[in-house]
Every structure is written in structure tokens, then in C-alpha cells.
């Protein structure tokens, strides 16, 4: 029994298997994976997000696009998958491919250092120690690192089409990632409110300067507070616009034919739909290859088959692509490159 209809794989269960006919109107998967400037790989923990994201990023770089592979998972594994030591700044992996692992602690420290430097210019020296102590408290307050991570995330999204042609994100397991993707919308409201208030302050400041003349003292007309708020609002708006633009961004779910992974992924897909974030494809990882035979394989196939049916049923509107369970480990750049070529060579157009 073949695990899939429309199976594009050859004998021996090569890569990959199209698990169902492409729903009408969907873009071919290869197009999504290799053309969208922003790609987000997400899924339950342990389903193979990092491996597939890295394989796609390497393939993308191989096709001549300057590609940046970014891990947003605080428990990073992109470096491990590539067999390289990565940091918070982009390192070159291959010609055309760079990678980095966002370090929320380093991001927060850098931000705090910037605030301290500005404060040092405006605080009287006798207060400096006290002010510094207060800022350090803010640094360890809950949410600080998440906020710093999110700030970096939006800056990196700006890099697609600027410093790089494409940015491929290997995201944290779903809960964390959904929150990250929902933040632009939620924070934007708050920041817009602050901007409205600040503009009101400035209107009255102008009126005050008009009636008070020289007595007003402060003649500054530009407002650094408003400028800083506007910069952040604009960046968050760009992030939100990019995330919801099906021509620019796609979320790619990685799922395994297992009950829990299917349930969690389906819930996440619904949440993304609510946020208006387009899902480009579902990669079903570790599908038993068609060529596997013998009693063990047959039993596994009997277990797997209802899960695959379930996946077809629940993600009927999406492009589904099976990635066979491999007999070999995928470890390091060369393995990943090979996986990427196999994946795309057999990919239905």
C-alpha cells in the first residue's frame, strides 16, 4: 500500500511525497519555499523544524539568493544542525548563506547599555549610581528579554529585501512563536496610544511657547521622545504588514504523523488564520518510505496511515508534502545540502 496518492517519489521511497492533490489555487510548494522573502518554520518540539529550515536555507543560498537563517528559539539548535558555533551576529556559513541565533540576553544588555549611555549625558553625576541601579532592575524584570528578542525579530524582518534577499526563521516550539507573531498587533495599539498622548503634549507645548515667548525657555521644536516612539511604531507596522502579506511571507508547518503533533499544529494553524498570517505549506516529516517492507514496516504503516488521513483531512486547504524517514542521520552542512537537493529534486511543480 502506498502511503500517499499522487506520490511523486521513486522506488525506495525517495523524497518527497505529495500527500494529496494540491488544493485549487495553492502555489506550488517549491515556489513558496524558494521564493518568499520571509519564511517561518514552526511546529511542535522535536518534529524536525531546524533540519528542514536549514536544508531549505542552504538550497535557497545555492539558488543564488543571499539567505539569512535565523533561530528565534531561546534553546537554539541551528548551530548544532549546521555543526557550527553561531552567535547573535550573523556568521557566514556558505557562499550566499549566513546564520545567527538571537540571544535575548545579549539583546537586552545592548539595549540597556544604550539607555545608560544616554542617561549618563543627562543625569547629574551624583545621581548616576542610583539611576544605574534602577535601570539594572528594569533589565531583570519579567518580559525584558522577550521584548528585546521581539525588537531584534522585527529588525531582522526588515533585512529581507535589504541586506539579504531572504530571511528564513527557525522558530521556537509553537506556543512561544505564536506569541512572538501576535506581538506586533498587540504592542502597536499601546504604542499608538502613547504617540497620541505625546502629540497632545507637543500641541500644548507649542501653544505655551506662543503665549510665553522667551519665558518658555525651551525652544526645542523637535521631540526625541516622539521620534523614538514613531520609529518603533513604524517598524512594528512593517513587521505586521510583512507577516500578513502572502506575497512576502509564509509560515511553514512541520508536523510528524503523530496524534499530539497533529493536534497542536492544527490549533496553531487556526491561531495564525486569526492573525491573518498565511500558511504556505505543511511538511509532514518522518513518513515511512514507500519502499520499506517487512513485518515491522507493515505494522508501522498500519499505525501511520490513519494519522496521514487525519493530516489530509485537517489541512485540506494547504499544500501537504511528505518527507520520508531517512535511514541516515542528517548532521552538518553536507548532509543538509544533500537533503535539500533530494527534497527539491523530487518536488512536484
Amino acid at each position: 500500500m502506498a502511503p500517499a496518492d499522487g506520490n511523486a517519489s521513486g522506488p525506495g521511497g525517495g523524497i518527497p511525497l505529495l500527500l494529496s492533490a494540491l488544493p485549487a489555487g495553492t502555489r506550488p510548494v517549491a515556489d513558496v519555499l524558494l521564493r518568499r522573502p520571509l519564511l517561518f518554520f514552526g511546529g511542535k518540539g522535536g518534529v524536525g523544524k531546524t533540519t528542514l529550515a536549514a536544508a531549505v536555507a542552504i538550497r535557497s543560498a545555492g539558488s543564488g539568493q543571499r539567505t539569512l537563517l535565523v533561530s528565534t528559539d531561546p534553546a537554539h539548535s541551528v548551530g548544532d544542525a549546521l555543526g557550527l558555533r553561531l552567535g547573535n551576529a550573523a556568521s557566514s556559513v556558505l557562499p550566499g548563506l549566513w546564520a545567527l541565533e538571537i540571544d535575548p540576553a545579549e539583546e537586552a544588555d545592548r539595549y540597556i547599555a544604550g539607555v545608560k549611555a544616554r542617561l549618563a549625558e543627562v543625569t547629574p553625576p551624583r545621581l548616576a549610581a542610583e539611576v544605574e541601579r534602577q535601570i539594572d532592575i528594569a533589565r531583570v524584570s519579567p518580559g525584558a528579554e522577550e521584548a528585546a528578542l521581539f525588537d531584534r525579530f522585527t529588525r531582522l524582518m526588515d533585512e529581507a529585501g535589504a541586506g539579504y534577499d531572504r530571511v528564513v526563521f527557525d522558530t521556537a516550539p509553537l506556543g512561544h512563536t505564536l506569541r512572538l507573531l501576535a506581538l506586533p498587533e498587540q504592542l502597536q495599539l499601546w504604542i499608538r496610544g502613547l504617540i497620541g498622548r505625546r502629540k497632545q503634549v507637543n500641541v500644548l507645548g507649542r501653544m505655551w511657547r506662543n503665549v510665553a515667548g522667551a519665558a518658555a525657555g525651551d525652544t526645542r521644536t523637535d521631540d526625541p521622545v516622539l521620534t523614538a516612539l514613531e520609529e518603533r511604531r513604524e517598524r512594528f507596522e512593517r513587521a505586521r504588514a510583512a507577516l500578513t502579506d502572502a506575497a512576502r511571507a509564509a509560515f511553514v508547518f512541520v508536523v510528524t504523523p503523530e496524534r499530539l503533533a497533529i493536534f497542536e499544529t492544527e490549533r496553531a494553524a487556526r491561531t495564525l488564520e486569526r492573525y491573518g498570517i498565511p500558511v504556505g505549506a505543511v511538511l509532514v516529516n518522518r513518513v515511512l518510505p514507500a519502499g520499506a517492507t517487512g513485518p515491522f514496516a507493515e505494522r508501522r504503516r498500519a499505525e501511520e496511515s490513519p494519522h496521514l488521513d487525519e493530516i489530509r483531512r485537517r489541512f485540506a486547504a494547504l499544500a501537504l508534502l511528505g518527507v520520508p524517514d531517512l535511514a541516515r542521520d542528517v548532521q552538518g552542512v553536507d548532509d543538509l545540502r544533500r537533503l535539500g537537493s533530494e527534497l527539491f529534486a523530487a518536488m512536484p511543480r
Partner: protein
């Protein structure tokens, strides 16, 4: 002739001072109070965490603090606190 113009100028200046004292000064202080009130509201909106109210953008408004430290100082003095409130930012 020259004395006439000087006298006129003096009288006009006096008239303007009376006018300002009667009409502009109250208006001016009204505007100043409004201006200050808006500044306070902005501090509360941007730094509500310091007053114990949740502020999801507290980390992002931190960078505004250097620009606002003087206003914060003026605020707590006006609120009758000679020292900056405990738990919040320090300015004195």
C-alpha cells in the same frame, strides 16, 4: 514731534501691559497648567509600571527615560513628594 511719538509709544506699551495682565496672563497660566497636565498623563501612560499598573511596553519606554528625567523630577515635587517615590525611577 519726537516727544509726541515717545509719549505715544510709552502709552501704547502701558496699554499692552494692562491688556496682558487682564487677559493674556490668566490664559497663559491656563495653557501652562494644561501643558503640565498632558506631560503628567504621558508619564503615567508610558511608565505606568512604576505606579504598579501593568505596562506591556515598559521595556521599550525605558529608552525614553533619559529625555523625561527632568519632567519626572518636576512631577514628584508637584505631587508633594520631596524624594522620588520608592520602587520607581530615581532622579534625586
Amino acid at each position: 514731534m519726537r516727544r509726541f511719538w515717545d509719549g505715544l509709544r510709552r502709552r501704547l506699551r502701558a496699554a499692552r501691559e494692562i491688556y496682558e495682565g487682564l487677559y493674556v496672563a490668566p490664559y497663559r497660566s491656563l495653557i501652562y497648567r494644561e501643558y503640565r497636565r498632558e506631560q503628567d498623563l504621558f508619564l503615567i501612560a508610558g511608565f505606568s509600571d512604576l505606579l504598579g499598573a501593568p505596562n506591556p511596553v515598559a521595556f521599550y519606554t525605558l529608552e525614553l527615560y533619559p529625555e523625561l528625567i527632568e519632567q519626572f523630577h518636576a512631577w514628584h515635587l508637584r505631587m508633594g513628594m520631596p524624594q522620588a517615590p520608592e520602587g520607581g525611577f530615581r532622579c534625586c
